[in-house]
Symmetry: C2
């Protein structure tokens, strides 16, 4: 039976450390300030916003949510971003996904001040990441690396297979894993025969968002399985991995919930604090 | 026996088309202007500079080489870059590699005006590429895609295995291949058992710079083999692939010389012209 990679536990440990840093910053007159823009009424988004705010409050980060109407125009969004860019007390700006179809997300993201780009989605921060300069790190990828490190799992020389090529998870994780000297394969919706690749993975990361995608036949004995999927079934969430049948076969596995989810939220707060420290020369 | 992917022939075809574009631009008073900075006396660099200049002249691009002493300081290099950034007639700036050890290449590259960054090595242009915005494209990756397209080889759904994770070839090619819907694996010096991966490649791209690295046992029957390696043996050059023994087994293969090399130089000129056109609103 696999050892559980307990993301919730690590998130708690890291949040406690982060709170101490924030306490120190506050003593020096620095209040980390995080602005989140949410457009429309996506139910999952509201849940994420709530869990972010809860953790931010616990750590001592000021989080302000800007709730925009689902009919918000591109111009209105850009104008809000410009305002937040110019407000010196704001350290981090994030656009909660998904956004309605009238929004040109790439244009909006590229207008965020790179110094306030907590999600590492502006072109210059994406480029820096690929060049080994961790000006800011995408939260999920950062959380995955922290989790592997916590359990003393070395990625060097390992075959890391990533399912998903999003800007938020798959691509930045590929960058960080290459930097860790892993051999990296990126699979996606156009990949023929997923199992052919997943069976070769020493470390398998599924960020497909497809319930039960990964069955026990698709993983190698003793592999390490990281489940980034968050799929809702009623009030419950479950991952991309058929946990019950995969867990007995592998050496390590993340649960869902309690795995990468809480680590992602905590990592995001770390980025806010990182940007606040840099801004204030600390 | 494999069909030859004739990079030299395609480079000639594309150079002829490019010359027509440049002739048109000149009629409108636009003279594409390319500045190359070379530091020190690397023999290969001098050969590349010569072949660039020859093609630039043929196409009608003005190329000016700045030859700096091998003892050039970082400050001198940065000052030259600043000058070239400010000179409005300069459309493209490139630093010829390798540079001497006293030079901080990343710092120098990041100071190049992204509007003049022909090699796509500034952070914002690297980020743009990963986001699907081809503001400028790295020459080798651009050449490889052009070659596959010319021979009507579709990368979608194929397993593309890239050996090498450099900023110049491996990483940008991974970005472009993911965009083409290929499943992408990136191998490098820390990969254990290269053959295990190369044997699975539908399209194998070797950018290792290691003579004879790829033997016939390492490739799948009917694979497509792209050899980016340029290894010097006296006055001759040869690739990473044991061409004689690999060619009979695969469906397509690039020769060295006459494959990716000439396409890279031609693609670089395309980027200079692209930047000159954009600068002049054309």
């Amino acid at each position: 039976m696999a050892q559980l990679l307990d993301g919730q536990k690590l998130a708690n440990i890291r949040a406690t450390k982060l709170k101490k840093q924030v306490d120190e910053l506050k003593k020096q007159g620095v209040q980390p300030f995080f602005s989140v823009i949410n457009i429309g009424d996506d139910i999952s988004s509201k849940i994420y916003l709530k869990s972010k705010k809860k953790l931010a409050t616990k750590i001592g980060i000021k989080q302000k949510n800007f709730q925009l109407d689902s009919a918000t125009s591109q111009a209105e969004l850009l104008s809000l971003i410009a305002r937040l860019n110019s407000e010196s007390q704001v350290n981090g700006i994030m656009i909660q996904l998904p956004v309605p179809s009238q929004i040109n997300l790439n244009e909006a993201l590229s207008l965020i001040d790179p110094e306030k780009d907590v999600d590492c989605l502006t072109p210059s921060n994406v480029g820096r990441l690929w060049q080994g300069n961790h000006f800011v790190e995408p939260a999920t990828a950062h959380g995955i690396l922290a989790l592997l490190k916590h359990y003393q799992i070395d990625s060097s020389g390992k075959h890391v297979v990533i399912i998903g090529r999003s800007s938020i998870v798959g691509k930045p994780l590929a960058a960080l894993m290459l930097e860790q000297d892993a051999t990296v394969s990126v699979l996606h919706t156009k990949t023929n025969n997923l199992a052919k690749y997943t069976k070769e993975a020493d470390i398998l990361v599924s960020a497909a968002g497809q319930l039960g995608l990964i069955t026990e036949k698709m993983v190698k004995d003793n592999a390490i399985v990281i489940d980034v999927g968050i799929n809702r079934i009623g009030n419950q969430i479950a991952g991309d991995v058929d946990f019950q049948n995969v867990a007995p076969k592998v050496s390590y596995i993340t649960p869902v919930p309690g795995g990468i989810g809480p680590l992602t939220v905590e990592s995001l707060m770390e980025q806010v604090v990182k940007l606040a420290r840099r801004k204030n020369g600390r």
